[in-house]
């Protein structure tokens, strides 16, 4: 049932799967929010900054008041405040959405670093109690699987529940229809009596609240501390996940699991002395699978790509057979999720179709 579970302490065991779920959460939350925002036509590059704001302000409030609940609320409120700025720029002022998002990131990085230096700079390491885990009664006692799936915190459950919720919202409700219309053909939505402005505001605020919640998750659930720039590029991975998931909730979930899995893998590999044979096995298997896929799909550039993946598969098998003690730099593993995201973008974008009016401001009377 669980692949590699019987290999034991290798990099792909049950605790890898557990940490995959935990590390998928801070990518999945902003990605689902961003999915809604992009379907409504607003690309929000400021996710990273909103996550950081959520992380810092939840940490600060929880530390100052001693209440985790107030911390969560403060974090989400901070994210919403940045969401208001983003909406004012992108929807009301019709400024360039991408540059607006970059600006929001820089403000958030500067603001959280400044406040952290001023408030906590002289205090040494401040560590808070973390949000407790909720064992789901009954389900959590299933051997192996129970601990893996049903012994987590509320934020993680919410992140994974948000996927079916978003799918229901987008495809089964009137709101969802309005959101998709606002992103595909706002003039038509406007004619039909939908307020494109309001739909876009709501979507951007949803995305910023969910991004902030991901920051709360990092600060109050997984670590209990705040570090400057602790989000470490996860907001950008969420943007990639939306594209890789082809603007569909299920696709986004799959993309986030892959990126989260890579993140979990890099943490485990960076801590190890040598690269274990399973890694070579997985690399070889992936490359071989890709080669087969190319043969079946008959793509234009398949000769080069086929040769490349066949070579990778072969060298993987050779390395697996000889199982040498190769120590690769930690930094390579740390860059792994980003490299994977780049490869994914290079392979996936050409075939995906984005919402037609993504990044375009809607001006009434010019549609």
């Amino acid at each position: 049932m669980i692949p590699f579970a019987d290999i034991g302490v290798g990099p792909f065991d049950t605790s890898w799967l557990t940490s995959t779920l935990i590390l998928t959460t801070p990518i999945l939350l902003p990605a689902v929010g961003e999915l809604i925002s992009e379907r409504a036509g607003v690309l929000n590059v400021g996710l990273e900054g909103m996550m950081l704001a959520g992380a810092f302000f939840s940490f600060w409030a929880a530390w100052a008041t001693g209440s985790l609940l107030l911390g969560v609320l403060a974090g989400v409120a901070a994210g919403l405040a940045f969401g208001v700025i983003m909406s004012l720029l992108a929807i009301e002022a019709q400024a360039d959405q991408i540059v607006s998002g970059v600006g929001i990131n820089i403000v958030a990085i500067g603001l959280t670093t400044f406040l952290f230096d001023e408030i906590f700079g002289a205090r040494g390491l401040v560590e808070l109690d973390r949000i407790g885990l909720i064992e789901i009664p009954g389900l959590s006692s299933i051997p192996e699987l129970g601990e893996l799936l049903f012994d987590h915190d509320a934020v993680l459950y919410f992140a994974f529940l948000s996927v079916p919720l978003a799918a229901f919202l987008l495809y089964r409700t009137k709101w969802g229809l309005s959101i998709r219309a606002a992103g595909e053909f706002p003039a038509a939505a406007d004619t039909a009596g939908v307020s494109v402005r309001r739909v876009r505001w709501m979507s951007v605020l949803t995305a910023s609240a969910m991004a902030a919640l991901a920051g709360v998750f990092l600060a109050l659930v997984t670590l209990g501390i705040f570090r400057q720039e602790m989000t470490a590029g996860r907001g950008f991975l969420a943007l990639v996940a939306v594209i890789f998931g082809r603007w569909h909730p299920v696709g986004v979930l799959g993309a986030c699991l892959i990126l989260g899995g890579a993140d979990a893998l890099q943490l485990r590999l960076a801590a190890r002395e040598a690269v274990s044979p399973e890694v070579w096995f997985v690399i070889a298997a992936l490359a071989a699978g890709f080669a087969v896929h190319l043969v079946l799909r008959r793509q234009r550039e398949r000769k080069v790509a086929f040769a490349l993946s066949a070579a990778v598969a072969l060298s993987g098998i050779v390395l697996l057979a000889s199982s040498p003690d190769i120590k690769l730099p930690d930094q390579l593993w740390r860059a792994l999720p980003f490299l994977l995201a780049l490869i994914v973008l290079a392979g996936a974008v050409a075939r995906a179709r984005m919402p037609s009016d993504l990044t375009l401001p809607y001006r009434r009377g010019e549609g």
């Binding site: 400024a95 820089i106 400044f114 950008f236 990639v240 390579l332």
Partner: protein, 365 residues
């Protein structure tokens, strides 16, 4: 003709006024942060002026910080004109700097050859890293903002590895390379200060990019592609080719900035994070300059002062220098808001003109 000139002057002064207003507002907000952190306002202001211009050494520090800011800002302007704006300057600075460090450490030559060679290495590094972005965009349709955000993160890891691995100074635990050879470094412009001859790059590159964009066929193509890529394609100008050249040129400028940071920098070797956030600050500079190559110089002077004075303020008054980052982000947000005000104004004044024109035409016939 005179009417046109008047309109142009009015527009330029309006844009200039807006930039000044944005700068003043951002500085005011920055000082609110300083006041909120408990430092006395007068003391902070004094430390700011003293830190930026007060002594020969501080003023030299301000000027030397202008160089990478101007170069990155020009890189942004080139890609902005082509509507291919990316945010990969940080990664391009880092990888450019990596090649600079290799040439500066591993090769021994007289300065006349060594310095130009090291600078060239930086440019090549920037172009190579930007080349990935250009290829991903032109051949695979990958949004350049996304790819550059990711490539920045990859470049950070590359440098982190290099300064702890292959290029680490032997027998030290610190993440840094051995001191770069003297023969590869920029000579002093002002003795006993951090001001090096690379300051002369500023007028040279500003004029070169200004002329390139305004007076050459390439500049015309860039603008054509940036304004309307379909029209450009119809006119026989390939948006892909022009976009790729624009991205590569911006990478070259960022790589040049990386070479200056190392070859005219304060630290003897290459350290982790030697990019110092210039890759993003340069964007704020360009936006404040309203994407004009000539406006970059005053805007860069402002930001260089902020950086230099911010560092001094941290040391003397004890205010976190992150306040500079906040201010720079606020500049971006305010510039965007101000641009929209300009846009709406232009539309408001244009709108009633149409019926007037029609009456004139009716009278003529």
């Amino acid at each position: 003709m005179i009417g046109n000139l008047h309109a142009r002057l009015a527009r330029i002064s309006l844009e200039f006024g807006l930039s000044v207003a944005v700068a003043v507002a951002a500085l005011a907000i920055g000082f609110i942060f300083i006041a909120a952190s408990g430092a006395s306002f007068g003391e902070a202001a004094e430390a700011f002026v003293e830190g930026g211009f007060g002594t020969r050494r501080n003023f030299a520090g301000t000027l030397s910080k202008m160089v990478p800011l101007v170069l990155v800002a020009l890189g942004w302007i080139v890609v902005f004109r082509a509507s291919r704006f990316h945010v990969g300057f940080q990664g391009q600075i880092l990888i450019g700097g990596l090649l600079v460090a290799i040439v500066a450490l591993e090769v021994s030559l007289p300065t006349v050859v060594h310095l130009p060679l090291a600078i060239l290495a930086g440019v090549v590094g920037g172009v190579l890293w930007a080349g990935i972005v250009a290829w991903l965009w032109a051949a695979r349709g990958v949004n350049e903002i996304l790819s550059t955000l990711l490539l920045n993160l990859v470049a950070i890891q590359v440098i982190s590895w290099v300064v702890r691995g292959p290029l680490q100074q032997p027998e030290t635990p610190l993440p840094q390379t051995s001191p770069l050879q003297e023969s590869s470094r920029w000579p002093d412009l002002l003795v006993d200060t951090s001001l090096k001859l690379d300051l002369l790059l500023i007028p040279f590159v500003v004029i070169a990019i200004g002329l390139l964009l305004a007076r050459t066929v390439f500049g015309f193509r860039v603008r054509l592609v940036g304004d309307n890529s379909n029209a450009a394609r119809f006119a026989g100008v390939s948006p892909e080719r022009t976009g790729v050249y624009a991205i590569l040129l911006s990478g070259a400028l960022a790589g040049l900035a990386g070479s200056s940071l190392l070859l005219a920098g304060d630290t003897p070797g290459m350290t982790d994070g030697f990019d110092g956030g210039y890759g993003f600050q340069g964007i704020a500079v360009a936006l404040l300059a309203r994407n004009s190559p000539w406006g970059v110089i005053p805007a860069a002077l402002l930001f260089a002062t902020l950086r230099q004075a911010g560092g001094v303020m941290e040391a003397t008054v004890g205010v976190s220098s992150a306040v500079v980052d906040v201010t720079q982000g606020i500049v971006i947000v305010l510039v965007l808001a101000a641009t929209s005000i300009l846009y709406f104004r232009a539309r408001a004044t244009e709108a009633p003109r149409a019926p007037i024109g029609r009456t004139e035409q009716a009278e003529a016939t």
